[in-house]
């Protein structure tokens, strides 16, 4: 039995769903394979989406026409606005999602896509046969496709640890994918081993919330998605409590059965979501750690315990949790665990997310060494678009570091030696001020439309918004506030600011006490459109100087980014390269000069050696 599709997506997680959606919208017959049809877009960890950097990714995926933003809006339990006082570049939304609702909404959405065929099945090998690829399931079924997106998350040779007990498994007791990893490895793909973990889930009825601090959500004027009407919900609260010395003592006394410390686990874990064992060992003088209790959903009694991720034996988890105020009588539903899994060494990837020398095979999500739903979604949509472009025989779509966090993410992945699962951070983005959460549509929606991921109607809506912003900017530039005028009086009454001389409105808006709403009120001009236009305009004007600086930096980057390095470039010829740089360059094979410079171990001096050599050999 043999079936033919344009493209197959292996995995219906956060990366796979985005990829399938994107490539199918580009007009390709798409097969979406998942180990279990019940587990589409499953959240194996904290049911939370967004935050600094991650929220920007969600908005960017949404602006390109992806799903994570709209599904989160539909499935949210509470929303918070973070960093509101810390500046425009780092303001971010974070949502708690109803895990089950999230999966249901995603499944509904995917099921409605006419060109997507969903199948439950386990891929056990990928083979090149003439000019196409052949996927074989463990049942023997065979699919013939022209492109493949591998989005298998933490499943490749997954191994779960709870105390000294370990077994082959995908996350949360799902099947591991072993033969697929072996088939790829046999064909020369190199893997490395990462590790992540999660905490125990508990029964709500066993918790004493009176001993905890309530963390209510915020009422926000809009959600993540630019395209859905925002329907905020009655926020469901989270709860905060703390560990104490007793908790730490129990953990410290049991390190000999902690797989992370007794040599059971060899994969590298993350520094930013460490297990409680790690926190206690690495920060011995901290006398308490935060513990957040988060609902897993509305229709379940299960709660998530953020901050107590652990792979200690189940009875030890039970013991130390009982020392935490409010958890004295805790009933564990599922114990916490650590999982080790294979990730592809990302030096094998191109910026398009295609595997080098594997035409038509793309990888996205946690398999590439990232962590997080947002990171997975971001890669998913890019891999989907690039698979589509590959099928059309067109150049790949590469976002630059100054265009999007997505660009930063992928560029970092393929140029940096990542020794732990990669998570976006605003401090990784040198164009942080330009890559704000609120302006993602202005940065990216034109692309989304070009690839047909944004509908005609949504694009029309976007263009009107963009024009309105231009118009409002022109209004500010073209109008003044004169002393003694009626408008000046309203502004003084509102802010206490006394206008001494005629001031241009744009200049006026640069003052910290002035915002768009105040000007609008004084000039009785326009109405609030309930989109984020005010925020866009305020940021553009208030941070003009800084944004100009980034624009200059970006222009400089463009120059080095424009210099392509031939695929078969011979680094052994180049004199004066440090040995480390030479080794790295030969391994990573950067596509542009700019990328070469970002590879760790390649210094500016190496770069000039390379540049001199390249210009010289071109002259010859």
């Amino acid at each position: 039995m043999k079936k033919i599709y344009d493209v197959a997506v292996i995995g219906a997680g956060h990366a796979g769903c985005e990829a399938a959606n994107a490539v199918s919208k580009m007009g390709f017959d798409t097969l979406l394979l998942t180990l279990n049809f019940n587990n589409i877009a499953f959240m194996p960890c904290n049911p939370s989406v967004g935050g600094p950097g991650k929220g920007n990714l969600v908005r960017e995926v949404d602006a390109l026409g992806g799903l994570i933003g709209r599904i989160t809006d539909l499935a949210h339990l509470q929303m918070r606005a973070l960093n509101t006082q810390k500046g425009p570049a780092v303001r971010a939304f974070r949502a708690q999602a109803d895990k089950h609702l999230y999966q249901q909404c995603m499944r509904n959405y995917i099921e409605k896509q006419p060109l997507i065929t969903i199948k439950q099945g386990k891929v056990s090998s990928i083979k090149r046969i003439k000019d196409h690829w052949c996927l074989t399931l463990n049942t023997g079924v065979c699919y013939e496709v022209s492109a493949v997106i591998i989005a298998t998350g933490t499943f490749l040779r997954g191994k779960i640890h709870i105390g000294l007990f370990s077994y082959s498994s995908g996350p949360q007791g799902q099947h591991p994918a072993i033969s697929l990893a072996e088939s790829l490895e046999a064909q020369g793909i190199r893997f490395k081993r990462f590790k992540t973990g999660t905490s125990a889930r508990v029964r709500k009825r066993s918790l004493d919330f009176s001993k905890m601090i309530e963390q209510p959500g915020d009422w926000l004027p809009h959600g993540f998605s630019y395209w859905l009407p925002w329907e905020p919900r009655e926020p469901v609260s989270c709860w905060l409590t703390y560990t104490n010395q007793k908790t730490h003592e129990i953990i410290r006394n049991n390190l000999d059965v902690a797989p992370m410390y007794c040599g059971e686990i060899t994969g590298t874990g993350t520094r930013y979501c460490p297990a409680i064992e790690g926190k206690v060992v690495n920060f011995p003088h901290k006398d308490k750690h935060q513990v957040f209790i988060e609902p897993e959903g509305l229709n379940t009694d299960e709660m998530y315990i953020a901050g107590l991720s652990s792979s200690l034996p189940e009875e030890i988890q039970d013991q130390f949790m009982r020392t935490v105020p409010g958890l004295e009588n805790v009933e564990i539903v599922r114990p916490g665990y650590a999982i080790e899994y294979d990730v592809i060494s990302p030096d094998q990837l191109l910026t398009s997310l295609q595997i080098r020398d594997w035409p038509g095979i793309f990888c996205a999500g946690q398999i590439n060494g990232t962590s997080g739903y947002e990171e997975a979604a971001a890669q998913g949509i890019i891999a989907g678009i690039n698979a589509g472009l590959y099928l059309r025989g067109e150049e790949p779509f590469v976002l630059k570091r100054n265009e999007a966090y997505i660009g930063v993410l992928i560029d970092d992945l393929i140029t940096k030696e990542n020794n732990e699962p990669y998570r976006v951070m605003t401090s990784r983005a040198e164009f942080r001020l330009s890559l704000r959460q609120e302006n993602a549509d202005l940065r990216l929606t034109d692309y989304g439309y070009k690839f047909k991921l944004i509908s005609e109607a949504d694009y029309q809506f976007f263009r009107t918004k963009r024009e309105r912003i231009q118009e409002k900017l022109r209004f500010l530039e073209g109008n003044n506030l004169s002393p003694g005028s009626e408008e000046a009086e309203i502004i003084q009454a509102k802010t206490g600011l006394k206008i001494q001389q005629t001031t241009n409105l744009k200049q006026l808006l640069k003052r910290p006490e002035i915002n768009c709403a105040i000007i609008r009120e004084a000039f009785k001009n326009g109405k609030d459109e309930l989109t984020n236009e005010d925020e866009v305009i305020e940021n553009l004007i208030k941070y003009e100087g800084y944004l100009e600086r980034e624009a200059k930096m970006a222009a400089r980057l463009q120059k080095t980014e424009g210099k392509k390095i031939p695929v078969d470039f011979d680094y052994s010829q180049v004199p004066n390269l440090s040995f480390e740089a030479r080794e790295k360059l030969m391994r990573y094979r950067p596509e542009t000069f700019g990328q070469a410079g970002r590879i760790s171990g390649v210094s500016p001096a190496d770069l000039s050696a390379l540049l001199i050599w390249m210009t010289r050999s071109r002259k010859k």
Partner: protein
């Protein structure tokens, strides 16, 4: 030529006539050693313990003995170059050493280029760029002071000062960045007063470095001082007199010097390139005309211009015209031939050109030459050179990086006092650190991230 070859050279330290050292560096060092060295008994050497002085025989690959030698081996992780290094000490003169060198060449080593051992050290990450540059400067340094400046840089003094400031600035940046990225973790708020103190301290330190950067650069590159003026005023005579040797041709015929003559002199530690030029005049003669044009070129680029006048003739209209033409550059006026009866006095010139400094000399008798020398030195480098303020900044690249760092630190300080939001303060602070990183070689963003996680317990 490849950076992976094993290289060899005679690297006899100065002042030790009796002994000579041959150094071999590279992957093949031990292999070459086993071809050209033998036990004193004549047996082949099997074991190569590290850092132990051994007695042996140097031989040709065919086995014939050249000399009795001492040798020792540094393994790659401990050697200067970062590769296996074999050092062989032989006695006797150059002849003997050359034979051993020859033997290493026959055994497969390649003769090292000048400075190649240092280059290897740099390529293998044993020394940073600033230090590598310093070694090159050291080899090329023309005067004692320049030598000292290069030495301080080689010791990493500049890097030390900069790394210290980087460390302090990181102490502000890391908590800011951590708080921006992890708002729900417990990260202490920015303490603005403390931060301001650190930033201002860094500005102060950097300004201190910059204060004598221009002089430092002169020490490294030598300043150019040009002798200019009408024909026959005695420019060439002055050059000779300053050099203490008859370098330029002197005749009573105007228009003697056609092309320029240039020579480096050591003005008490400060290297100065003196350039004697063709006398400036309107002329038909094509060769002399070309010389005059070139003279103008040199005058334009010089660090210091000395305009020579003939005191026996007085100031001619051409002198006026020339002085006027380069007014902005404020040349020094040298009144020459003061041994002859004067047409014009020192006072009169001072009155005529109040902006310019004036010195009287006689190239013929040598009167005033000593004063002229210390005058030039002072003009270029000032008087307060001391051991406490060594010249740490001797390169334009470093100077520019420091100036940029300083600029962004000022923005940072302004931002902190004017209560700018923290994402913006971080931008300025990062820009400053990146500028410093161009000297120290540190990558800010990697550093920030690794410090965030080592300082704060982050993550749910």
């Amino acid at each position: 030529m490849r950076d992976t070859d094993t290289i060899t050279a005679i690297s006899t330290p100065q002042g030790e006539g009796g002994i000579g050292i041959i150094r071999i560096s590279g992957e093949e060092a031990i292999n070459i050693g086993s071809q050209i060295l033998r036990h004193p008994s004549g047996k082949k050497i099997i074991t190569w313990p590290e850092r132990q002085v051994r007695l042996g025989l140097a031989v040709f690959p065919d086995g014939s003995v050249i000399d009795e030698v001492i040798y020792f081996l540094f393994k790659n992780n401990r050697s200067y170059t970062g590769e296996d290094v074999l050092e062989i000490q032989g006695h006797g003169g150059l002849q003997n050493l050359r034979k051993i060198l020859n033997s290493t060449l026959k055994a497969g080593a390649r003769l090292a280029e000048p400075g190649e051992f240092t280059k290897r050290a740099y390529l293998n990450g044993r020394i940073d760029l600033a230090q590598a540059e310093a070694v090159i400067d050291l080899i090329r340094s023309r005067t004692d002071l320049a030598h000292k400046a290069a030495l301080t840089q080689l010791r990493g003094d500049l890097s030390t000062v900069i790394k210290e400031q980087e460390k302090k600035l990181m102490e502000i940046l890391v908590p800011i960045e951590a708080a921006l990225d992890f708002p729900e973790d417990e990260i202490p708020d920015l303490k603005r007063e403390e931060a301001l103190k650190i930033v201002e301290g860094a500005i102060f330190k950097i300004n201190e470095l910059l204060a004598n950067a221009d002089q430092g650069m002169i020490l490294r590159d030598s300043a150019t001082v040009v002798l200019a003026g009408r024909p026959n005023v005695g420019k060439s005579s002055l050059l000779n007199s300053l050099l203490g040797e008859e370098r330029a041709i002197v005749t009573p015929i105007p228009g003697t010097t056609r092309d320029f003559v240039s020579e480096v002199i050591d003005l008490n530690g400060v290297p100065v390139r003196l350039i004697d030029t063709a006398g400036i005049r309107e002329i038909e003669d094509l060769i002399e005309k070309a010389g005059v044009e070139r003279a103008w070129e040199i005058i334009k680029q010089a660090d210091l211009i000395l305009v020579v006048l003939d005191s026996a003739l007085g100031i001619t209209p051409e002198d006026y015209q020339m002085l006027n033409q380069i007014k902005e550059r404020v040349p020094i006026i040298i009144l020459n031939k003061t041994d002859l009866p004067s047409q014009i006095s020192f006072k009169e010139i001072k009155k005529e050109f109040p902006q310019n400094k004036v010195l009287s000399v006689s190239a013929l008798t040598g009167a005033g030459i000593k004063e002229l020398k210390s005058f030039i030195r002072e003009e270029l480098i000032g008087t307060n050179i001391s051991e406490e303020h060594p010249f740490l900044v001797t390169r334009l690249r470093h100077k520019e990086a420091l100036e940029e760092a300083c600029k962004y630190l000022r923005f940072t300080a302004e931002g902190i006092t004017s209560h700018l939001s923290e994402d913006l303060i971080a931008v300025d602070l990062r820009a400053a650190l990146e500028a410093l990183g161009r000297i120290s070689g540190k990558s800010v963003s990697e550093e920030v991230i690794s410090q965030i996680f080592s300082q704060f317990c982050i993550g749910k």
